[in-house]
């Protein structure tokens, strides 16, 4: 036996062991019933699935379909300008890409989907990431690299037709608006009646302004340094929040209702969009990224080191669609509730945005595109664990709206206990006291439940129960800071997109420095997401029930567009026999999103269908509030219908292209940039 044979044997045995371990772990997660399991089983199952997916499936895609070519010069090399196009170290690109794709979605979605139990979410996150999400991010990144870093919208226009480009553009705007509305609602639900949390988050505004001035005037460009300073100040703000909550005057000033918080966030969103970027947005973005990366790493270490027990059962009775967190059966709703952790259309924008302009070699797209999405998926697994370490009764008490379980603590605990998840008002009061809140009932949106879960994990060792309140508010601050950053940045991105479009009608409107245009488009964007936020705040069912599925549908419809583009290009590359790699996830997403849309529009159950809800509201005595709710439900139904029809058009156009290419009626050439030999190969060997 020579050394090559030995290496091969060792490799086969090692990967066989990983496969066996993964199969055992997935088996335990999937089959074990009736007794709590340890979170480490989920960690082992996830690690093995990701390792196998990366080693074998992504390698197969890279070799057989994409034929990655290390000798082909990338746009970063050919078009290098020191700004957008820049040859960059692969790990640096990986970090950049991961920082851009890791938003609050993989934290919130899995927490909400935990109402079905830990099993459906975990299986979807693992299978969805390995076979769909990672594949989408990887292939779109490579196709963009081969087209001078073109965006998804441009590729859709070139490869599918004008309708593809238009739909991708509209879907992006719709997703942004709905996402911003629902993200703001999550913050409102996390901060309402919470003087500690509100004080801490309010303090991040002067901290960001101070960081902006420090960066601009005192130590220009020293972002890492000022981010560390900002982080220390934020920790002080968390500590100060405890004092604020215990001081009667301060507690009164910072105890705000949902409607007041919503108005403040809308005003804040407008100011952040219209103010100079260096003053508030940039420092806050840096601070948020710093906190985000640190907290994700800390949570990962915490879960592995403390390996908590999951108290949520594998499957709950709510797989039948009667769940209190959001209504709808496991299919299709589990698959649109968890988007970012399994597959997210929004990622295709990043894979065809900054990242393809930084990649030094085609071969690195596998690690960056497929690998970064795997890490994102791991974050989603952590979120499931954080939600499922809670006693199920506590989880449902936090996440159920008052309109469903009852307005008082006694009524809510009686309802939840009657579902088979025992919890008492005294338990909830003790927990609320431990985390420094007046109450934890009806905190819908996922963020408070995640914060309680995270605090529960950390308080098991780091400081014990005495510092649970600090951990809880650290987690709330982390999520709210994260989400507010998405709000300011997202509002600006949407503003720019609308200005770009309006510039075709009247040139000055497209100028991003013309203040009338800035104010008008900022007001338009903030008004649009503010509408959804207000709708959620006023919704007696907590808002998340209607808005999160709407966001999930929009996001997954964008993934459908991205997979249509990818499949079209694969067929045009004459790799039809491998087209199933994107075609199967595409078919799955079409089934999921179209079924979910049908339910959200037409389902006769008023907790699920928008139109059924409107009809029920019509049958009760009319008030201004019910008139608004009826209008909101009809608008949500119309938005869903428009999105579905548009994506159906892209799908039909794509299928027409595929048939045309396969029958020889359509030109099969792909619109790649011409091959240019890399110089980096000679320079770097």
């Amino acid at each position: 036996m020579n050394s090559t044979d030995i290496k091969k044997t060792v490799s086969i045995l090692s990967w066989g062991a990983v496969g066996l371990l993964g199969a055992i772990a997935v088996g335990v997660v999937a089959v074990r019933r009736g007794e709590p399991i340890n979170a480490l089983w989920l960690v082992v199952a996830a690690t093995c699935c990701y390792a196998l997916g990366y080693r074998f499936y992504s390698k197969f895609i890279a070799a057989k379909i994409l034929a990655l070519d290390a000798l082909r010069a990338t746009p970063a090399e050919r078009l290098e300008n020191g700004r957008d196009f820049l040859v960059t170290n692969k790990w640096v690109v990986f970090g950049h890409h991961f920082a851009a794709i890791a938003g609050p979605g993989p934290l919130v979605g899995p927490v909400l989907a935990a109402q079905f139990g830990y099993l459906p979410g975990t299986l979807w996150i693992l299978a969805g990431a390995v076979f769909a999400g990672c594949v989408q991010d990887f292939v779109i990144l490579l196709f963009s690299v081969r087209r001078d870093g073109k965006s998804l919208t441009e590729m859709a226009k070139e490869e599918i037709g004008r309708v593809g480009g238009f739909v991708a553009y509209t879907a992006v705007i719709a997703i942004l608006v709905i996402l911003l509305g629902v993200a703001a609602l999550i913050v409102v639900n996390a901060l309402k009646d919470s003087p500690w949390g509100t004080f801490t988050i309010a303090m991040t505004i002067p901290i960001a302004l101070l960081m902006g001035l420090y960066l601009r005037r005192i130590r220009p460009g020293k972002v890492l340094e000022v981010s560390i300073l900002g982080f220390v100040l934020v920790l002080l703000a968390i500590w100060g929040g405890q004092w604020a909550s215990q001081n009667p005057t301060m507690a009164l000033a910072f105890t705000l209702q949902g409607t007041t918080l919503a108005k403040l966030i809308i005003v804040y969103g407008f100011a952040a969009s219209a103010l100079p970027v260096w003053l508030l947005l940039a420092p806050r973005d840096y601070l948020s990224t710093f906190v985000k990366l640190g907290t994700i790493a800390l949570l990962g270490i915490g879960i592995v080191a403390l390996h908590p027990t999951l108290h949520m059962p594998a499957l709950t009775r709510f797989v039948d669609g009667t769940g209190p967190v959001f209504a709808g059966k496991i299919f299709p709703f589990a698959f649109i509730t968890i988007a970012c952790g399994a597959i997210s259309g929004f990622h295709s924008l990043i894979s065809s945005g900054t990242t393809p302009k930084l990649i030094a070699r085609e071969t690195q797209t596998r690690m960056v595109g497929y690998g970064a999405m795997m890490c994102e998926s791991a974050v989603a697994v952590m979120a499931i664990i954080a939600a499922c370490v809670l006693q199920p009764g506590v989880y449902f008490a936090i996440n159920s709206p008052a309109g469903l379980v009852g307005q008082t603590a006694t009524a809510a605990t009686a309802t939840i206990s009657s579902w088979g998840f025992p919890v008492t008002a005294a338990d909830m009061q003790t927990l609320a006291h431990a985390v420094g809140e007046q109450t934890l009932f009806n905190r819908t949106g996922g963020a408070p439940a995640f914060a309680v879960g995270m605090a529960h994990i950390f308080s098991q060792s780091l400081g014990g129960a005495t510092v649970m309140a600090l951990w809880y508010h650290f987690a709330v601050m982390f999520e709210a800071l994260f989400i507010l950053t998405i709000l300011d940045a997202g509002t600006r991105v949407a503003r720019f997109m609308i200005q770009d479009a309006l510039g075709h009608i009247y040139k000055p409107l497209g100028r991003t420095s013309w203040y009338p245009s800035i104010l008008a488009t900022s007001a338009l964007v903030v008004g649009a997401w503010g509408f959804f936020l207000w709708q959620g705040v006023k919704d007696p069912l907590g808002g998340i029930n209607s808005l999160w599925p709407l966001f999930g549908i929009a996001n997954q419809l964008l993934a459908t567009v991205a997979l249509c583009v990818a499949t079209t290009i694969i067929i045009k590359m004459h790799r039809t026999k491998y087209a199933a790699v994107t075609l199967v996830p595409l078919a799955w997403l079409v089934a999921v999103t179209f079924t979910a849309s049908w339910h959200k529009i037409l389902d006769p159950n008023p907790r699920v269908g928008f139109l059924a809800q409107a009809r029920i509201l019509e049958s009760v005595p009319a008030t201004t509030a019910t008139a608004h709710l009826i209008f909101n439900n009809r608008l949500d139904a119309a938005v869903t219908a428009v999105l579905v029809v548009m994506v159906a058009l892209v799908l039909i156009e794509s299928v027409r292209q595929w048939i045309g290419v396969l029958t020889g009626r359509e030109e099969s050439g792909v619109k790649e940039s011409p091959f240019v030999m890399t110089r980096l190969a000679e320079e770097r060997g």
Binding site: R83, V92, A100, R216, G221, I486, V493, F496
Partner: protein, 58 residues
């Protein structure tokens, strides 16, 4: 020890890139200017549009 130092350098490089410190240094070298409040303001102005146009995921 060498490997550890190399890994630490890489981590710092990643963080400097994520936090745009490296971009600022490239700007200074491209424009042949020293770091100052004016130079940083010019850098931010140049990068503002590109930076805020970058989508960030949900």
């Amino acid at each position: 020890m060498n490997r550890l130092a190399k890994a630490a350098r890489l981590l710092v490089a990643i963080l400097r890139e994520i936090f745009d410190e490296a971009a600022y240094e490239r700007f200074l070298s491209r424009t042949q200017t020293a770091s100052s409040p004016g130079a940083y303001a010019a850098f931010r102005q140049e990068f503002e549009e590109a930076k805020t146009r970058r989508p960030k995921c949900c």
